[in-house]
């Protein structure tokens, strides 16, 4: 194991220079002239794409992009075609995306790792190693990530082309003497196992090993991917509309947001222009989903602190919004509405009026609940100064969504890279600085209020018009669609072949990013605080596992 890189440990606190796409491309070309060249391939016409010609330059390039230029790391997309295509996605603050494309011959198995420079890339590289078999040099820990060593043998690489997804009776050779990698070296330390069948009422299947010497949790390592259903693999070869079903159903609590990202990606490939009415309704539905999701997250936080009356009130609000979604759109979780080109159904004025009434009631009730909670000192005691993620840690791990915004990272894709009509509306992006549980709760409440206002603006600005644009240019190609899902920034990247079948489907989900931050927040807190910190994170295991 190499010792901590001193230049990383003492990263100077420079204010990253404000770049836009052009100046950044120029700066990159100037500094990394030999290693990077612009992409001549026109398939990525909506993003800025640069080819990395020297793989060894990747770490320093990553360092420049993340720390000097202040970009956010979007994710790693690996494709196996005639060669390996590794696509590193970065988001320029306020101005769009840059993709760095690394092409390697198929015989290459090792790639330089950028996880020392960009810590958020740690899990992306582990995922690529498990699913594709690529080795990332100097990565601190590879293996036993998605395909658990207790179930699967090493070297499976299921995402490779030669692997048949339909083989249901795969011979498994699990590791017999598996032991967890324990970090705490105290002689009396032990790791208390929690889950995956979670003993807390209803929880998603996540396994925790809480390392402790008896009173405090010194380290909590989550073991995820119990819900891994290989969505990206089973999508290959399916038609666009079939994969839309997958996009809705891999994480149904943000179903509309993910289907929106998927449809936007397809619309970019087919070069469809979504009608204005559809865009406004899409905004209203997305914000309805966000409002309902945040009400549920608030209910979960109240339940974890055992303040049952507030949990009941928030749960009532959430159930009313679920019923309103069903009455408005026909399904409680808004399935079956999005389609490439717009929406599949239209809504009349009375329906919209009922929806606004319910949304107003919900917003009012949430506001009253927030006021009452602010005066409950025993409740605040459990949340304030508990599970703190500092702004430096949040930036270091590149956290997204309400979690990042509670720690001072004011990033919101609706503001930074406006999509689907958000540029027409006025809303605020609430942001807090403390990074503790109470800050996250305040962010949830504020965002819920903003969602209510956005629904009003969207519905009240509805103009009669088409609801869906037809497909006129069934192109092949690749594109990405992004969305600010309730949990954070999500991106769906698709490559379609000539018959409009999906060749590669990649989901970069926000929960995958934010789970990485859990161990920072729970270090050195007592056992009783662990479920509360977990509830304030508001993460989804199925969204991370896919």
């Amino acid at each position: 194991m190499t010792p901590a890189d001193s230049s990383i440990a003492n990263t100077p606190k420079i204010i990253p220079q404000r770049y836009d796409a052009q100046s950044l491309a120029a700066a990159i070309e100037q500094r990394f002239a030999s290693a990077v060249s612009p992409s001549a391939n026109g398939e990525n016409r909506f993003d800025l794409a640069l080819i990395v010609t020297q793989p060894e330059a990747l770490p320093s390039l990553a360092q420049f992009m993340f720390w000097d230029a202040g970009c956010s790391f979007g994710g790693l997309i690996v494709e196996e075609r005639e060669e390996w295509i590794l696509r590193y996605v970065f988001r320029i603050p306020g101005d769009g995306w840059i993709h760095f494309i690394l092409r390697l011959p198929l015989a290459t198995r090792t790639v330089p790792s950028i996880s020392a420079q960009i810590h958020a890339a740690d899990w992306y590289e582990r995922e690529a190693e498990d699913l594709f078999g690529l080795e990332f040099e100097e990565h601190p820990r590879l293996g036993d990530f998605i395909l658990h060593d207790q179930v699967w043998q090493e070297g499976l690489a299921p995402m490779r082309k030669g692997f048949d997804a339909g083989q249901t009776h795969l011979k498994k050779r699990p590791k017999e003497d598996w032991h967890p990698v324990l970090v705490v070296q105290d002689p009396g330390a032990f790791a208390m196992p929690v889950g995956p069948v979670y003993e807390g009422g209803i929880g998603e299947s996540v396994h925790f090993l809480l390392e402790t010497v008896g009173e405090d949790v010194i380290r909590a390592a989550p073991r995820l991917f119990y819900n891994y259903r290989a969505v990206e693999k089973i999508a290959e070869g399916k038609s666009v509309l079939d994969v839309l079903l997958l996009a809705e159903r891999f994480s149904a609590k943000s179903a509309f947001a993910h289907s929106l990202a998927y449809c936007q990606a397809v619309e970019r490939i087919f070069q469809q222009v979504v009608p204005l009415r559809a865009r406004s309704l899409r905004v209203a539905l997305a914000e309805l989903e966000r409002l309902r999701h945040h009400a549920g997250a608030i209910a979960a936080i109240c339940q974890s602190t055992a303040l049952t009356v507030s949990d009941a009130h928030a749960a009532i609000v959430e159930e009313q919004l679920l019923r309103a979604s069903c009455a408005f759109a026909g399904h409680r979780y808004l399935f079956g509405l999005n389609t490439p080109g717009g929406l599949r159904r239209d809504f009349d004025a009375q329906n919209c009026g009922n929806l606004l009434g319910t949304v107003d009631t919900a917003s009012r009730q949430l506001q009253k609940l927030e006021e009452r909670l602010r005066y409950s000192s025993s409740f605040l005691d459990r949340l304030e100064d508990v599970g703190i993620i500092s702004q430096e840690s949040a930036r270091d791990l590149d956290l997204v969504g309400p979690l990042g915004r509670a720690s001072g990272l004011a990033h919101d894709l609706r503001r930074a890279c406006p999509y689907g009509g958000y540029e027409r509306y006025r809303f605020e992006v609430p942001c807090e600085k403390e990074g503790d549980g109470f800050a996250r709760l305040r962010v949830l409440f504020s965002e819920a209020q903003q969602s209510g206002k956005l629904i009003h603006q969207a519905v009240e600005s509805l103009e009669p018009g088409e609801i869906c644009a037809p497909v006129t240019q069934p192109n092949a190609g690749a594109a990405s669609g992004w969305v600010e899902a309730p949990i954070g920034a999500a991106m769906h990247w698709i490559r379609l072949d000539r018959e409009q079948k999906v060749e590669r489907y990649r989901i970069l989900s926000p929960s995958f990013r934010n789970w990485l931050g859990l161990h920072v927040a729970v270090e050195d807190f007592a056992f009783q605080d662990f479920p509360i910190i977990l509830a304030t994170f508001g993460l989804s295991a199925s969204e991370c596992d896919r």
């Binding site: 990383i8 440990a9 996880s115 070296q185 105290d186 032990f190 790791a191 196992p193 929690v194």
Partner: protein, 712 residues
């Protein structure tokens, strides 16, 4: 009858000497046989001597020889000695026969050990039957040195012998204090036999009595393991060889209390309640400190050492209560207190010897004493787990074992402080009682942790099971376990035996106060009016009168007209009732209810494939809350708290180490050591090597003597 006791004693000495000679002359197997047979015979004879003396009721006295100027060396066997002899005999019986097995298991030559073993046995008996100061002190000194030799028995030449050395140093310091105490007492009495001291105690001034008490109590307190003089105890108990441990814990600890009782209760009783209060407070503090460190300790032997300190504290508190009650005129509570203390002493010998032998077996079977590395032994050592459980339950004061009776009696004694006039004294009693109650609760925690971490759960490390592990030593453990049960279930037979020693010291008969004659009383006596007897007979107190000998099976203290029963209990009847209830439940659930199938399934752990040992509670984790709550006492220093990382976000290792200094070391040993060192350094300034200065010293000293002679 007394003559029989005396002849038994002399027979013991003869057998002991023979065993000593045979085991040192022979080699190898014959030496082992000599130790085994002669040792067992010696202990049987000891028990017989004690039993005969307790049954007979008359003392045995033997004058050995008269020395000019020192008086007569003599042996005197009275009831107090008999009780201690019985305890010693029981412990020796359990471990003598198998000492050779232990020696061969641990790889030691038997001959040298036999020499030390018999010599120590002889010196212990001499201490307990000494009739005058000189015999007592000489055998005490022999005992100290022999203990030192035995503690360091296992050490390699390069080994660490500081533990034994500290013990020897403290023993010598205690011996000096005791010597001075005896000198003061003997000076006032004019003779040095115990009989003379007893008669001369009345002539001692108040200050001299205090001096004798303090020097005697603290001097013997070193051996008894009282705070703040017991910092040698955990160290030596940990390094002593397993073959010596039962004797070390079960016999030599008692000698300290024998000395305290002999000097401060029998020979020089004293008048005020001050000494008693001092003993009480020291006892309570000792108990608490002992159990706190026992609960947070992971090494089996060190934990048992701290637990011995706790038990010593309880005995000392009982002795303190006895002194207070006696000197304030309450004879019956004094008898009660002394009964409780002696009972606890007897119990401690049995269960501590049992636990130490069990710990020795565990170490031999697994190679480790660290509870953090043990676990799951109930599957590989099932018989040992049963007797060890008996020992743990006994020391945790769970009925129907013996620890329960003596702790219960001790706490009841403290409640009797209501009879004392002074409010301040009552407060001291109340606080000490509260501390002892806390100690009892912590003792349960400690031994639950010990048993659970060693025997239950999954094994935490791999060890090869010792297949050639001898089966026969189980007899010794079973004997002690059965003794624990019998002492706990039949207290009404133990109390009259202990009463022989208590009655002359306290002035009241504990048997008459504590064990009402429900079986034997046909007419009323002063203490028990017929109406009272009839009530209890209706409650069933006469059950078993036809089959079981004795006065009765109920322990009961009568208060007076307003308060007929202060407390009452009967472990004997409770055990019978418990057995009946258990049998009845078993019968009902298995015979009278629907047939149910029993399905065995593994431990539910949230669905993970296997519950690995590193996922189960460790001993450190179990006792961590105690460490955290009593942090002010433990005061751990964080020595190391490093977090290794590969990258800033990726920790590979978190290392934490805490260092703790024992409270007694911190508050007493280290400051005293610093003072002594600085004084010594000052004095060392005198030795700078210049011959002229030394000549000047001689001259100066000569002038000083002349001046003093002139003045004096």
């Amino acid at each position: 009858m007394a003559a029989y006791a005396g002849s038994a004693l002399l027979l013991f000495f003869a057998l002991c000497a023979t065993g000593l000679v045979l085991s040192s002359v022979f080699r190898g197997r014959y030496a082992s046989l000599a130790i085994a047979w002669f040792g067992t015979l010696c202990s049987i004879v000891l028990i017989a001597a004690a039993a005969v003396r307790l049954a007979a009721g008359a003392d045995f006295h033997l004058n050995l020889w008269t020395l000019n100027g020192f008086g007569t060396l003599s042996l005197h066997l009275d009831a107090l000695s008999a009780i201690f002899l019985f305890a010693a005999g029981l412990v020796y019986l359990s471990c003598c026969f198998f000492a050779p097995d232990y020696l061969s298991r641990d790889g030691h030559p038997a001959g040298r050990y036999g020499l030390l073993h018999f010599a120590l046995m002889a010196s212990v008996v001499l201490i307990l039957t000494a009739g005058d100061v000189l015999t007592f002190l000489i055998s005490w000194e022999c005992m100290s040195i022999l203990c030192y030799l035995l503690v360091n028995y296992e050490q390699e030449p390069e080994g660490d012998s500081t533990a034994g050395y500290i013990m020897l140093a403290m023993s010598e310091a205690g011996f000096l204090a005791v010597l001075i105490a005896f000198l003061i007492a003997g000076n006032a009495a004019g003779g040095y036999s115990f009989a003379a001291l007893r008669m001369g105690a009345a002539h001692l001034s108040g200050a001299a009595t205090w001096g004798v008490f303090l020097l005697g109590f603290l001097g013997f307190g070193v051996k008894a393991g009282l705070v703040p003089l017991n910092f040698w105890l955990p160290r030596s108990y940990t390094t002593a060889p397993p073959v010596f441990m039962p004797v070390f814990a079960g016999v030599t600890l008692n000698l300290g209390f024998y000395g305290i009782l002999r000097l401060n209760a029998d020979l020089v009783p004293g008048h005020g309640i001050g000494p008693g209060l001092v003993a009480l407070v020291i006892g309570a503090v000792t108990a608490l400190v002992g159990i706190l460190y026992a609960t947070t300790e992971n090494d089996l032997k060190t934990m048992l050492a701290h637990s011995s300190i706790e038990n010593a504290g309880i005995i000392a508190a009982g002795i303190g209560a006895f002194l207070v009650f006696r000197n304030s005129g309450n004879a019956v509570p004094a008898a009660l207190a002394l009964i409780a203390a002696l009972y606890h002493l007897l119990n401690h010998s049995t269960y501590k010897a049992l636990l130490y032998q069990g710990a020795g077996h565990i170490e031999a079977a697994t190679g480790t004493r660290d509870m953090d590395r043990l676990g799951g032994l109930i599957r590989s050592l099932p018989a040992l787990s049963i007797v060890f459980l008996a020992g743990c339950l006994a020391i945790a004061a769970v009925p129907p074992f013996n620890g329960f009776v003596s702790e219960w009696l001790t706490l009841q004694t403290f409640l009797r402080s209501a009879l004392l006039p002074s409010a301040a004294v009552k407060i001291v009693f109340a606080l000490s009682g509260a501390i002892l109650a806390l100690t009892a609760a912590l003792a349960v925690t400690c031994f639950v942790k010990t048993y659970a971490m060693s025997f239950l759960g999954t094994p935490r490390s791999n060890w090869e099971s010792n297949a050639e592990f001898a089966r026969r030593p189980r007899f010794s453990l079973t004997l002690l376990a059965v003794a624990c049960v019998l002492l706990g279930v039949l207290p009404t037979y133990v109390i009259p035996a202990l009463n022989r020693a208590v009655e002359p010291l306290a002035g009241a008969s504990a048997t008459a106060s504590l064990v009402p004659p429900f079986f034997t009383a046909t007419q009323a006596n002063q203490q028990l009016p017929p109406a009272f007897l009839a009530d209890f007979h209706n409650l069933g107190a006469q059950t078993g009168a036809r089959w079981v000998p004795g006065r009765g099976l109920v322990i009961l203290l009568r208060g007076g007209e307003q308060n007929p029963v202060v407390f009452a209990m009967s472990p004997s009847y409770s055990v019978v009732a418990l057995t009946i209830v258990l049998l009845l439940s078993w019968f009902i659930t298995t015979r009278l209810t629907r047939r149910r199938s029993l399905v065995k399934n593994e431990v539910w752990a949230g669905g993970i494939p296997t519950l690995l040992p590193e996922m189960t509670y460790t001993a450190t984790g179990f006792s961590n809350p105690v460490r955290v709550v009593f942090q002010a006492i433990f005061r751990p220093n964080i020595v190391e708290d490093t977090r290794e990382t590969v990258a800033v976000h990726f920790r590979t290792a978190i290392r934490r180490r805490r260092d703790e200094t024992h409270l007694v070391d911190r508050l007493f040993f280290h400051p005293v050591g610093t003072i002594v060192n600085s004084v010594a350094r000052l004095l060392a300034g005198m030795h700078h090597g210049r011959l002229n200065a030394y000549v000047a010293y001689v001259l100066g000293f000569l002038i000083l003597i002349l001046v003093l002679y002139r003045v004096g």
